[in-house]
Symmetry: C2
Subunit: 495 residues, 2 copies
């Protein structure tokens, strides 16, 4: 175990991170007692309080547990997903069979009767300040019903853009309201960004695995995809990226550097700085998808790559759909040197965003309840992820690996024994349980044994039962006996 201090993170967090990594990599095995607090303080030359804070953090993240009169112990965890050794980079057009599979899974995910354990759309209304937002909307309407009768023109609500700029400052981005374009969710921000910086036939670099809706989006714009190796823990491989940039093989790059979908991984601060430098040096725009940035578990939040964007080559895209009001679909982009082009594209593509919804969000952001709400969400998702990983450990075949997300609410599971998750998807669908097979997340077939799961659902019997059934199905397909579902005692976890 080695501490890799960075000047931007508090000491206790660095300490917690290094122990988390040791646990995750199996250096510290489940059931093992952690060294005494005073010894750790001495050996790492930090105060006792720093160690206590670090332990608190590890406990919050479900990695260790306190046993009265005895000390701290490592909890049972899933082995980490490791980077695949082989990764052939190949420029691809999405095949129609791949796009059909995406259509099919997307349709299934939206089916109201299915139990969904993988869709990245929180369906638990407690996860949003709905009543508060509803009150603000109703109050705005009372004060000025005529708001509805005014035509929404670009660039849209100045107040919301000012609030966004104010908040972005906290996250290391120095923006003004004029640099922000409101969009119809993050999806439109990505779409406009791609249209602004590419021509049909161009090749776009993507993380691998990546958000699956990017494939039909690229296909709709006549763009080719080049998937870049992405570490399940540390994110995009910058060495591979630099090679591609040197060889001028991509015209743009889309990445989620802080809390990636589907892996949940985040890049280190150093890597973010290097990424910003790379795209500014090679003049290749980075479309930074920051959809889950405010749901990072570490505090203070790791800044966006955009924070280190020297000459405006980073197009930052995000939205309030995952944190405040999914139904409003208000997103935004800060597009640097591409601002004018994107603002113009937005106007001719869908004009502007609703003032009623924008002003509601502005009022919510201004009134100071957002940070409190975000803290609640982060705690909730971190706890949910831990519980969900616990269920996977319990019901899935031995050798199942999973990522440990740094934020958000999705994670990535890789199954042993040649299990084909597309087959698993088909069979689970007959039981009205919906998962997303790994095949969706790449144009290659390299993730056919993986699943993305999501824990933005209420942790009720239905959800638990669905995970259990998925685990049983996986055991069956892997040809190994099932776990406690059949009354067999809980398998000891290999870590």
């Amino acid at each position: 175990m080695s501490l890799a201090p960075t000047s931007d993170q508090p000491l206790y967090q660095q300490l917690a991170d290094s122990f988390a990594e040791a646990i995750h990599q199996g250096t510290l095995k489940p059931g093992k007692r952690l060294p005494a607090i005073r010894r750790v303080a001495q050996s790492h030359q930090v105060s006792v309080n720093t160690v206590l804070n670090a332990w608190q953090m590890l406990e919050d993240r479900g990695l260790i547990e306190a046993r009265p009169q005895s000390g701290y112990y490592v909890r049972g965890v899933l082995p980490a997903v490791t980077r695949h050794g082989q990764h052939k980079t190949r420029v691809r057009d999405p095949s129609s069979s791949k796009l059909d599979l995406i259509d099919k899974v997307f349709a299934a995910q939206n089916h109201p009767d299915y139990t969904n354990i993988s869709l990245a759309c929180p369906q638990d209304s407690e996860l949003f300040p709905a009543a508060r937002i509803a009150r603000i909307t109703a109050s705005l309407l009372r004060r000025d019903p005529n708001m509805i009768g005014r035509y929404a023109l670009p660039p849209g609500s100045e107040r919301l853009r000012e609030e966004i700029a104010r908040r972005a400052l906290h996250a290391g981005q120095t923006l003004t309201a004029d640099e922000i374009t409101l969009t119809h969710g993050c999806m439109e921000a990505l779409q406009l960004a791609l249209r602004a910086v590419t021509q049909p036939g161009d090749c776009v670099g993507l993380e691998s695995p990546t958000y699956f809706f990017l494939f039909p989006l690229l296909a709709s714009l006549g763009l080719k995809a080049l998937e870049i190796p992405t570490d399940p823990q540390h994110g995009l491989s910058l060495d591979a990226l630099e090679m591609l940039l040197q060889e001028q093989r991509i015209k743009a790059l889309i990445a989620m550097p802080s809390a990636q979908n589907p892996l949940g991984c985040g890049m280190s601060l150093e890597n973010k700085k290097r990424l910003a430098k790379l795209v500014n040096t090679y003049h290749v725009p980075l479309i930074e998808d920051g959809l889950y940035d405010e749901l990072q578990f570490d505090w203070p939040l790791s800044p966006a790559v955009k924070a280190f964007d020297r000459d405006g080559w980073v197009i930052y895209c995000t939205s309030f759909t995952k944190t405040v009001a999914p139904d409003f679909r208000i997103g935004w982009t800060a597009a640097g040197r591409f601002h004018d082009a994107i603002a113009r594209l937005k106007a001719v593509s869908s004009m502007a965003e609703s003032a009623l919804l924008s002003e509601t969000l502005a009022e919510f952001l201004a009134s100071g309840g957002y940070d409190h709400h975000l803290r609640t969400l982060r705690r909730r998702y971190a706890a949910n992820l831990d519980e969900a990983r616990g269920l996977i450990a319990r019901y899935f075949p031995e050798g199942t690996r999973a990522t440990l997300p740094r934020g958000g609410f999705v994670f990535w599971v890789e199954l042993p024994g040649g299990v084909n998750t597309t087959e698993m998807f088909d069979r689970l669908l007959q039981e009205q349980i919906c998962v997303t097979p790994g095949a969706l997340y790449s144009l290659s077939e390299r993730y056919n044994h993986a699943l993305r799961l999501s824990c933005c659902y209420p942790f009720d019997a239905r959800y638990t039962r669905a995970i259990q059934r998925a685990g049983e199905m996986a055991c069956e397909l892997a040809g190994v006996p099932c776990g406690e579902a059949q009354g067999v005692p809980l398998r000891p976890q290999t870590v």
Copy 2:
């Protein structure tokens, strides 16, 4: 004067149309008494009641006036804009100077301090049922605040799509909810339609003059424009179109057949049927922009070309932004054979529309207040147009021509004496008055002497004064003495 009866219109309307045309063409001059009602009934072989209804219609449209004890007289009107003899069809890329001018005018139009007499965005909140809509929204939020916390997924509100289908039936379109895709306003519908049916480099047929935002939209998609002669009264030239279709020179066509922007013209029922047949025969998609269809002045409304679409080659696009709730930006498309492609494009381009706003509209449509509201709007706009044309007649140079719209709230004015309206725009802007110069509505320079004006504003002293100033400026640029603005008595109108 000749009656051109069509079996689909009531007799009194045919009669009114033929007299309107006679007035408009100058066969019946201002101040002239109309023939006695009984004589007209005899000569046209209709009942006295039919003639009375027709006169009522002409009076409503401001073309004639009743003088007690004396009969009906033709009112003073502007001469009609006639079709330009010369129209060179040329495939064009929008020049950057043209796009810059569009940007400049658009920015000026949105300036809150300017008096706008040309923007097609009703700013008079009385024109919308804002209070009613606000009550519906507030009530939905009270019943289910969690609506805000649910992720908006395609295809979006079934209830709204059902209401749209139900209403479309009245307008001759047999649609089901499943054939309708909700969009972020009509602009997004047009954008998605173009992306679904064209490839970069393709050529798209447009009316001339046409909605100016189509030029930057086409440019953003790498599409070329071919402007097709369009009669200021009867709309798109189908002979010219058929030639282009035969020669396979366009890949798609965008048109507003019922109430065109900027001319206000509408095609006859025969021409609509022929247009539908042409695009179905030549397999070239028609993107039918029906934005002002429900604001047609004639009743019953003339059906959309989509109503005669045999094999699904018509993509009907429209929105509620001009009639119910501009701020909501909810539009829709019924895309025939392109439905699946457009639904998929919508999902990857901006996902879906807000359930809160969609359900509000659905409730408003279902509750039966919409038709009443539309009747009020039609009466109001018809009266506004008449008043505005009266002001033009009063203050603009002799020889000024104007269109007589069949619906909506914009009309087209052509100035005599080589007046350059772009220069006029620049000079009026210094007085904080905003008009849209004709140069915007074509990639050619053939409308440099024209203006589009709009009467979706309150008819107050500010609006009147702005029109008067525009007229004075036009007189000055044309080198003719000003009208009554300078205390000179009102010029007699040449018709």
